[in-house]
Symmetry: D3
Subunit: 254 residues, 6 copies
């Protein structure tokens, strides 16, 4: 039984990764999982937040947001509401945690990298697309810092990070759910994994239902295979040269 | 190798469940996981939020908070800061989701139950203690609504819900981490399960590290055994009569 | 004519003071005025707020709050509303002012003591119970600082502080009003006094009514007698040893 | 021993009451206690807040604020800080409570009167000046409503309300403290009274000190005499005709 | 003397208008003025804000925002700061006002169109690009409403609207300033005009300098010529068919 | 055809400027344009905001606000709403920008002048009255700083600044619109000019209409003549001596 968009249960949507999407940030990546489009921008600043100052360690954090026009019916702007919603908080924290698992903050030196993940168009899986794209933006920002001679150690990245959603829809375990499936899934899981096949984060939720441990196992099988494929797409994208002008050593902060 | 508090790796801390802790709410439970103490209060109101009105369905939601004096060093009050932090949001949403998995909202009728989980003393595992205690408070609130003749259907609860933390500390998989272990765990996982042994939520995170799938499996073994034991403690507590005065049928809202 | 709860007009409710209620703060006291229960926790930090820094003076402040489940019908959480209400502000300020009247801030040295008064259960008189319990928690925090060798002067407390409500109900002047009386009182007064019989604060309000000066005098008589009795309960509670482990001299901040 | 401004201890500062200060509100009064100047404006709207709707009762409330330029050194604007401070809340509530003590809300009918008390210049006693001026503005607004034929009953005001501060300065009990005395007073009290000599509100505070009951008595003597004199000033001001154009019966809301 | 980017003083940057950039909104336009890129999305909802309800008139409003990664150095997110800055407010209001000048709100019927203008990349002139792009998105939304049979009158748009910046840089009057020129301009002006050559809004500001009326005249000459050229670009873009699937008559709200 | 208030189209309302309106700020001016009354207070503080610190430059900024009772029907207080509206932001920024155009910030030295413009009564043209009055308050503050010996250079003011509104009402170009005209104007323009006849700011807006360039020219003619007359009123007011006690050289901050 094929899915609405014609895919088999274990197949990802079309993945597209465009580096150098914006001109100012050290890393700027547009990632597309089918119709889901997320702009991931890694901005570098010298120094670290005050609570970390003097530790010799760098800092990586992330902020996730949705354009009001990204969703099927327009969503209100969080800046206008004057507060950030729980879902936004939750996803921002997840992205930050996932990226910090792959970087040696001592090697980064006292630099801060902020990864902004702004959803241009939402069709399910925005948080997993954001993590997968954010890794590529982070890699570009690290390259930029290396060229500028500002890393404490030449290779701070210890692995690559990707993420994918998986769920139970119509009683079947399926990979990379679009909105149409996500909104009626009985179980919904997001898996963040490394290119070594190890796990960084597993978040599985029964949506008004519960699920057997054997279902969890099947979901993990699909998710890990999906992450491996996403890692390949990341590698291909990063095999191309840095999409911009690298700074000279001792270059000033961008 | 015993743990600092003398337990084996697969043993829960002392669990105490006190029903009827406060006099006003329909359900009020003090739950203790060792030194962690959480007050779970289920308040009933007639009607549902506007966006749900007229659907015939009830609503269950939760709010988690920490007393400033609950933590080792005093934490700032979120009401004074004027905004709720990401962690608080995240846990409130987790508790609400977990409880909605065990209740038939049509059977509940157009009533709202708000479960307030206020941490009196924090020593690790506050969110899992909150879920486990909140289920007991919810069961009391349902009994109260039944006595008042306000349920659409006599038995809205489909299963019992409990939760426990598990993690990797000093390279060993351990159950129900106190703060001293939690703060240095390499992997940290929270599992919410039913008394039928099915899963409601699984959230595992590498804390600056990654973990193998086999580690995930071992953590799940311990967590599910821990949840089963917590279910027994819930059953025992609920075997006692309702700790207060039940309303007469057609009793007014509490 | 006896009151609903059987007391004479000039009699306090049952008073219970439990020291050492929580493990982390230097002072932690559960105080009960009948069914009103307030948790008063005194947390110590080294240093003072910036505007006071370098003055050699310490600082004592208080924050009052109500658990949502403490009241007859659930009250909204101020952290969720994003702002603190006028009543909360007013009571927090009253508690802080009352405690600062009994302590020599120069003797305290450059330490800050924050007293959190969280109402667990509300049945009238929460602010007066909070002040009475907060004094005991403050005394424990001062003992803790003394043991740690961090006081500028060994005895910073100049007197004990207690508080009680008094009002006119059914045309009779009555002491220590429970919610049932408070909600229909014609006049409502809170009195904060020292164990020397002097006054710290007097706040009397006609609730949609006015009152004669002779009524004010009768209310003061009852209130001062009530405060004297509360002072005795405080003394008894503080006659027991410090309910925890005192720090060694030069102990670090708690 | 005379005071800095040459007054005896029991003498008020010069009191000036100017009705009709602004053209739009139904009542608009500039009141001056010496250099303290407060603009009290009573605005009338048809209907009452939702929680009171359908009760047949009217509503009177007050908002107090300080111009940034009113104080010796400029104070930050609360609208810019995004939150109202505790002191502002406290005073707004006090003014509203004091005015509601003198008006029959059933006689007012389902109308709302909001009294804005904006301090143009602060030199001590702003809250007592505000109450005293607000009563005059309220009386004008009631006249306005009466002319418009919108009162449920012709005479909703049951008494006049005035307020004054009193305190202990340099060991002497003094009336109506300017900033220079207020800032170093050992005891500070605000008294709100009616023209019948009864009390509405008494708030006495030891400022880092305590005070004897006999001191309280002396302060009340002075305060009640001061309030009586303020009542005379209010009567004189109100003896003049309404300072504007009264509406025709069935006039629309202002 | 040529400008840094090689243009003559009276020449616009390259203008690109891409319709149908997102799939959900009724109108979605990416507009580029050189390196400045703004996404303008027009979302349609049935009904109007409460204050306008029942008037028979529709409503058009706009919200402008900047992605954090759009600027040379990353700017803080307004949702995180919890408040919208003055500049954002000002520009949102300008865009809304400009669009309302070209639409007959009675002809629109009781529909609301919200235009979100999110700056993807900022290089000067973001507000004028936003207005110019927003008009095209608005035109698409009107087409969509017409197809759905929801307009009160078939042609609500009375003219086309475009906007451009002009300023004095290095003593010369120049059109369409990029960031490099804008940041050092002595005078800065934004002009919003119709395709009939009439004006909607003129905002000219001396930046720490003042300017002669003759300079204002020269700036207006350049700006009106620029707007005419932008109108041509809009017409060309709108000559293509609607970039998506139009609804059937009586189509439900998008 | 005369206007409602009997003026010809090119005539200002009665202008009154009262210096020394408040006692604390270094400059305090009540300005009246007919029934529009704005209190402009210039407060001086030593030092500059952190982002400007060490530059040797001073800083001038402005905050505009409206008393709730200033408008025809009472407007809500922005401090109570917890956020400043777009209009308030816009006008505050306009006033600050206008004043900074006439002052040499290096000559001012590292001092900050905050100009608070609080509208006591609104009848159209509040922002232009505010700018015109703020200049006079600024001049007094500069005199105060000069007397205190705190200016880096004796004459920091390079010109005088005034502002006036102009618009198209009933098809006629008119100067200085009161509320009755402003609320139905087809075009509305505010012009800020110097006493040298040069422009600082021009903001013209079609209110649901568009306007020809020739109309803009006529409006500018009237506005510049109006500003010249306002400059004469400012000069007359400033010809009187400083309305207070000037500090001695090396006087401390006010």
């Amino acid at each position: 039984m094929l899915r609405t968009d014609g895919r088999n249960d274990d197949v990802l949507r079309d993945i597209r990764i465009t580096r150098g999407y914006q001109q100012w940030p050290a890393g700027s990546v547009l990632i597309e999982f089918g119709n889901t489009r997320v702009l991931c921008a890694a901005s570098v600043t010298e120094g670290v937040p005050r609570w970390r100052s003097g530790s010799g360690l760098g800092w990586v954090t992330a902020e996730y947001a949705m354009l009001p026009s990204a969703t099927h019916s327009r969503s209100d702007r969080e800046s206008v509401k004057g507060r950030i919603g729980g879902r936004t908080h939750e996803i921002s924290r997840l992205i930050g945690r996932s990226l910090r698992a792959c970087i040696d903050l001592a090697a980064l030196g006292e630099n801060t990298i902020v990864i902004d993940c702004d959803v241009i168009q939402a069709d399910g899986g925005t948080r997993t697309a954001a993590i997968t794209g954010a890794y590529v933006a982070l890699a570009d920002a690290v390259t930029w810092l290396g060229a500028a001679g500002r890393l404490a150690d030449p290779q701070p990245l210890s692995c690559a990070v990707s993420a994918v959603s998986v769920g139970v829809v119509d009683g079947r375990v399926r990979l990379d759910l679009p909105y149409e499936e996500d909104s009626r899934a009985e179980v919904d899981m997001n898996v963040v994994a490394t290119d070594a096949g190890t796990l960084i984060e597993v978040q599985g939720t029964g949506e008004g239902a519960t699920f057997a441990r054997s279902t969890l196992d099947k979901m993990l099988d699909l998710a890990l295979a999906g992450c491996a494929e996403l890692n390949r797409a990341q590698s291909e994208a990063l095999a191309l040269p840095y999409p911009g002008v690298l700074p000279e050593p001792k270059g000033r902060k961008k």
